[in-house]
Amino acid sequence: MSSPAATYDLGKLHGGLRLAANKAESTVMSIQEVPVPDQLVLPIAQHVGEPAHPVVGIGEHVFKGQLLAESYRSLSAPIHAPSSGKVVAIEPWPVSRRYGNKAPCIVIECDGDDRALPLPEDIGPFNTLEPDSLVQKILQGGIVGLGGAVFPTGQKLMQAASMPLEYLILNGVECEPYISCDDLLMREQAAEVLGGAQILMHALGLGQCYVVIESDKPDAIGAIGDAMAILDDSRITLKQVPTIYPSGGEDQLVQLVTNREVPSGGLPTDVGCVVQNVGTSAAIFRWICEGEPLISRVTTVTGPGVATPMNVAARIGTTVADIIAFAGGYTEHAKQLIIGGPMCGKSVTTDRVPLVKATNCVLVLNETSRPGTEQPCIRCGECATVCPIQLLPQQLFWYACADNEAKLRSYGLTDCIECGCCDLVCPSHIPLTANFRNAKARIQELADEKARAERARLRFESRNERLEAEQQNREAELTLQKEAALKAGPAAIEEIMRRQQKKQNPDQED
């Protein structure tokens, strides 16, 4: 049995950087299972969109896999209990988010039995289901994009199903340094990954799938190749891409694999592609074929500050402190805790934050900040050479400082993927990405304000129209009454007047 050869025919990616991978330390061991902790903390907003709506009360006993919070409004994802136990609180808890440090969380005290709900009876071969109902089912599994963007997968598929599609692309390109959870997942769960790909292809009616892996992951390429040989599905092709950061970004990957550029402000579906992370694909397989919703994930615990760097499979809601303790605890070099990778991750000040669906890496570094102090821009243009979106970061920085919304838009700020390449190469050590992030938030704020003003204007105008119409109605009625009175003649008017007077002075006899 020989594994099919990986192909190399590729499009070109602008810019990008070759970074020190730092992945060797965490890929020595296989994936280790973290035991269920005493307490699980589940934020109700673990995905893009509206926070989920809790459906359990405090004091209620829940089973593993039971629905804790249902999706709310159009863009949302449900959350399930990762283990059995009692709901002890629904309260704000520190989380690793971009904005704000605390968010409402459901806290479960585990009973240690890890008792699951009985499996639903409709588990069977996925291809007996209609594509629509398959998508609906994926929606209920609480599955979100595990590459880090955490977009609800069901909604992504629903959007994609309305577009003409050609390729499903499974993203095994883990380009950010230190992170290796997808690598290990592909090595150990290749069959699940490919099974998920088959489900996705069935749900979207697609006939072609690329599994894309970076060239520095020979073991993962081998494992996927072997699994493909066993599966013998001619629709699935393995592709190998060079190791350049950030080739694992969704739009960048589409460009690399198909040589089609995703339009500004558009989605990969605009050029006929759907991109899914390999972890998401495996999670879909487990939900559809084994009935287990998204209640655990593989994450990398690594960095110079961790005693035994490794990849762990942990229940969602396990605190980072528990995970680091499982990996042997901190070393004396530990200085800074980052959730996510060194480029796109977020630095947090406490290890009480829980592992969420988005957490692909827990990184402990031995230095707290980048070397060098910020100096004025010398307009060298290095940032423009490395920008994978071909933006002009030096111009964007200029306009961000000037708060010039129109120029920021026309220079494509909203297309910035915040990969951090420009930060790294800037000889003046300007925190460009942080500036862009703030500018984006400001633009969003202005747009919201504009929309609010527009709505108020429409309401004001419709109210004025209504008042005017009421006034006209009243006047028309008055004229009618007047006409009727005139038609009846002066005698009738006198009669009415007399009746009125009588009513006012009932004693008076006429």
């Binding site: 304000e449 108020a456 309401r459």
Partner: protein
């Protein structure tokens, strides 16, 4: 040589005079594109319809700026940003706000005190208050522009303004 210089000066002056007269007459006789300007100004205003400028809404204020040359610094909810944008659009000088900039706020009805008189409902310029006669009223916070027009009509003083966020 002198004659040619003088004739050149005379011709140029003549052209300037004629063109000036024509333009002046055109400006007086032809209708200006004031409606479009009013719309542009109206788009820059925050649409709170609060009447704090002294005009009964944002559009009337925009009309007043165009026709009656009302000052551009009368809009407290818009703040200095709006003054800046109006100045850019109209080519006027930037003036500081006539009143200090307020914080964004929404109305809140103390439902325990509300007697259901409908006065506040009728005062709201954007229909953001619901409630029928003799029934408790409430503010639809998402639609409230924070104009404070509902506060004075309330006979039991049960409406307060609370800061957003």
């Amino acid at each position: 040589m002198w004659t040619s210089i003088i004739s050149a000066i005379l011709i140029i002056t003549g052209i300037a005079l004629v063109a000036g007269l024509l333009l002046g007459m055109a400006a007086r006789k032809l209708p200006g594109d004031s409606d479009q300007i009013v719309n542009q100004i109206n788009n820059l205003l925050p649409q709170t319809q609060c009447a704090q400028c002294g005009y009964p809404g944002c559009r009337p204020y925009a009309e007043a700026i165009v026709s009656a040359a009302a000052p551009i610094n009368l809009c407290p909810p818009g703040g200095d940003d709006t003054v800046q944008r109006l100045a850019d659009l109209l080519g006027r000088e930037i003036e500081p706000l006539a009143e200090g900039a307020p914080v964004a706020s929404v109305a809140l009805i103390n439902e325990a005190l509300c007697i259901g008189c409908t006065h506040c409902r009728d005062a709201c310029p954007v229909d953001a208050i619901t409630g029928a006669h003799q029934f408790m009223h409430t503010v639809i916070a998402a639609e409230c522009t924070g104009c404070e027009l509902c506060v004075p009509p309330c006979p039991v003083d049960c409406i307060s303004m609370v800061a957003v966020r």
